[in-house]
């Protein structure tokens, strides 16, 4: 996908994403801020990076969702509702805005590894297999479907079920 195509996809998807982000964060001002962050990131993408994008709508959603998640984590960390704090943190790190949250995730993974392993062992075999292939081996859902010989929607159900199990048995953070 060329850069221009990605920018067009953004203009088309923006209203729905802002509606979603408003519901996700509970604030239309925050949603607009996040949408602006997405736009800035699109601007700073290289042509090569843009060319890698195969599903623009999914790509844009994930970018917005990841920014919303980072904002929510920053809020948890600060224990405050002040969104300015988050914006400062995101802007300071410029290109490496994900670094602090992902370091947290790495610690989480180390601490919870045994619990996660135990939870996966207790899942129905197909749910466990779909989860492993998608999250551990990095296959797309379509590739998981092909490999397991089941439909795409079945894969989605298996992965959702395994995520629900992890929520109930391990939790986050």
């Amino acid at each position: 996908m060329a850069r221009q195509g990605l920018a067009d996809a953004w203009l088309e998807a923006r209203p729905a994403l802002v509606r979603f982000l408003t519901a996700r964060t509970g604030s239309s001002a925050t949603a607009e801020d996040l949408a602006q962050d997405v736009w800035l990131r699109l601007q700073s993408m290289t042509d090569d990076a843009a060319a890698e994008v195969r599903h623009p709508q999914a790509f844009l959603y994930r970018m917005a969702a990841n920014l919303a998640l980072d904002a929510s984590k920053a809020q948890r960390r600060a224990g405050a509702r002040d969104l300015e704090w988050r914006r400062a943190a995101v802007v300071d790190d410029a290109g490496d805005a994900e670094d602090a949250p992902s370091a947290e995730d790495a610690v989480w993974a180390r601490l919870k590894l045994e619990k996660v392993v135990a939870a996966i062992d207790r899942m129905p075999p197909k749910a466990a297999e779909a989860f492993r292939l998608h999250k551990m081996a990095g296959l797309s859902q379509a590739e998981v479907a092909e490999r397991m010989g089941v439909s795409r929607s079945a894969v989605e159900k298996y992965i959702s079920a395994s995520l629900k199990d992890l929520l109930l048995r391990v939790g986050w953070p």
């Binding site: 599903h55 993974a109 180390r110 081996a137 391990v170």
Partner: protein, 323 residues
């Protein structure tokens, strides 16, 4: 932040998980977004559960690494690496938790065999991998390839190779070389690994070169850029490189821009059967120009005309000294 903030309401957890997975699918639609927005707005508990499910989803991406790279101090790590081969960092889990994970990850991580490619000095070899990627391996090289389900792994010892990597976003192409890890975004590039140094030159596309131990430390290279890293210090130096000459060895040539004789000798030892060594007093003589690698004696004769050196042939090969 509360520890173990486990969602108690199973129904809400199931819905939150379903939304997280639906919205992150490749075929997500505007209708999905609006339906999710309606669900989120209906109840504050929905929003909290969604936030947790999103956080969990992102955090589980790190599970493989938690298993694969236990915390070790850098000095010990280096020592071990110099000794026996590291076997992709997964063979020796250092924690009890890692051991447990090895059991459930084992079928994924160990199903692919490691294939070792070795070339004699003077021998070059082209290898076609099952994914369509192509490796042109220069002489005197050893490297191993492991085609896992979710990623493609190459480990380079002393070696030089041109990589032409087939695009596959779901299966990253990773190269462990020296202290560095090269992550490929879909592209062609040359890697040259000598005894003390790693050099990566990008011929097409984009390549990310990072640290094996610190994932946050990385440089992104694009066409016409090279990064050089000496084992002695940890600095990565990015410099422009001529894409026409960076992989000239594949066409029987070598281009040098103000390079020390020691580096040229290493290249000649790779290109020809007789090893070439340099006396310390000549190691830092600089050379610029293109060498046609037709015949070892002829190449050395040309170097003797350009630089104040003389070559002596002995049982150990050719030795270059200052004259």
């Amino acid at each position: 932040m509360t520890q173990d903030a486990v969602i108690k309401d199973e129904e809400i957890a199931a819905q939150a998980a379903a939304w997280v997975v639906r919205l992150r699918a490749d075929d997500v639609t505007v209708e999905d977004l609006d339906a999710a927005a309606a669900w989120l707005s209906a109840d504050l508990a929905h929003r909290r559960a969604f936030d947790e499910a999103e956080g969990l989803w992102a955090a589980t991406d790190h599970l493989v690494h938690a298993q694969a790279s236990p915390v070790v101090d850098l000095a010990a790590h280096r020592e071990r690496r110099k000794g026996i081969d590291r076997r992709w960092m997964v063979a020796a889990p250092a924690m009890a938790a890692a051991l447990a994970a090895a059991v459930f990850l084992a079928p994924l991580l160990q199903s692919a065999p490691t294939v070792v490619y070795q070339t004699a000095p003077g021998e070059t070899r082209t290898v076609a991998l099952e994914d369509g990627s192509r490796l042109q391996i220069n002489g005197g090289s050893t490297l191993s390839v492991k085609m896992e389900l979710g990623r493609r792994l190459v480990h380079m010892d002393q070696a030089e190779a041109v990589f032409d990597v087939a695009h596959d976003a779901g299966r990253p192409f990773l190269i462990d070389v020296g202290e560095s890890q090269v992550r490929v975004v879909g592209t062609a590039f040359n890697i040259r690994r000598s005894a003390q140094e790693t050099e990566v030159s990008v011929l097409r596309g984009v390549v990310e070169v990072g640290d094996l131990d610190r994932s946050g430390r990385k440089v992104r290279l694009t066409v016409g850029q090279a990064v050089r890293r000496a084992d002695a210090d940890d600095r990565m130096t990015v410099a422009p490189v001529d894409v026409r000459t960076a992989a000239a060895w594949t066409r029987g040539r070598r281009a040098y821009d103000d390079k020390p004789l020691s580096e040229i000798a290493a290249d000649l030892s790779r290109a020809f059967a007789t090893p070439v060594t340099v006396a310390p007093d000549a190691a830092n003589l600089r050379f610029s120009g293109v060498l046609v690698l037709d015949d070892e004696t002829a190449v050395i004769g040309r170097l003797e005309r350009f630089l104040p050196i003389k070559a002596t042939r002995g049982p150990q090969g050719v030795r270059l000294e200052r004259r």
